[in-house]
Symmetry: C2
Subunit: 123 residues, 2 copies
C-alpha cells in the first residue's frame, strides 16, 4: 500500500504498445502503455476499456454502425471504449496512456498478430 508515481513508472520502459501492469483493483488492472504510430483495428467482446492520456494526444478511431469517426484525447482527458466497439488507437506522436480495464482484456482484442501481448509484466 504505497503511493505509485506514474512518471517514475513510465521512465522504467521504452517499448511501444506493450502495456505494463502497475496496479490491481478488484477484477481490473491499471496499466501504463507508450504508444507511437498506428495500432490495429480490434474490439473486445466483453471488456470496456478506459484510456486516460498522461502525455501527448491520442487519436482514437472508432467504427460505429459501419461509420468511422475519430476522437482526439488530450493529456488530462480520458475516453471509454465500450465492449463490442471497433477501435484503432493512433499516436501521431508519442503518447503515454494509463489504462483501466478488466484483467481478462487482451491488448489486440479479437485480433492476434505480432503486437499481441498475452503475458504482461508488472513494474
Amino acid at each position: 500500500m504505497q503511493a505509485v508515481n506514474v512518471s517514475e513508472k513510465l521512465a522504467r520502459f521504452t517499448e511501444y504498445w506493450a502495456p505494463k501492469i502497475v496496479g490491481e483493483v478488484n477484477d481490473c488492472y491499471v496499466k501504463l502503455v507508450k504508444l507511437e504510430s498506428e495500432f490495429v483495428w480490434h474490439q473486445h467482446e466483453r471488456e470496456d476499456e478506459l484510456f486516460f492520456v498522461l502525455n501527448g494526444v491520442l487519436r482514437m478511431c472508432l467504427r460505429v454502425n459501419g461509420r468511422t469517426r475519430e476522437e482526439l484525447v488530450r493529456a488530462g482527458e480520458f475516453i471509454i471504449v465500450p465492449h463490442g466497439t471497433e477501435h484503432l488507437p493512433v499516436a501521431d506522436e508519442e503518447v503515454h496512456v494509463m489504462l483501466f480495464e478488466l484483467k481478462t482484456t487482451l491488448n489486440t482484442g479479437n485480433v492476434r498478430d505480432e503486437r499481441t501481448r498475452a503475458a504482461l509484466d508488472t513494474i
Copy 2:
C-alpha cells in the same frame, strides 16, 4: 464515446466529499471528488479503491495489523487501498482525486454518518 476532460468536470462542482460519477467501465465507476479536511475512518468489506491524485497532496492514513501509518499521495500518483483495510483520507489543503472502484462502493464503507452519499450524481 467522447473524450472527457477531467479539469472541465472538476469545475462543475464545489462540494467536498461528494463523489461525482464521470465514467463507467464494466462493473466499475470512475468518479471525481474534492477533499478538504479529514474524512472518517472506514473500510470496504469487498471493494478495493484506487485514489489517483489530480491536484494537491492526499494524506492517506492506514491501519494495518493494529498499527497506524500514513502515506502521502501527490499529484500524478495513486494509491490502492485493498478491501478490508481501515483508512482515513485527509486533505490538509484542498485535494482533487479521481477514484476508480466497483459500482457497489459506498464512500464511507462500513460507516454511516452525515457524509455518507448513497446516491451519486453523474456529471
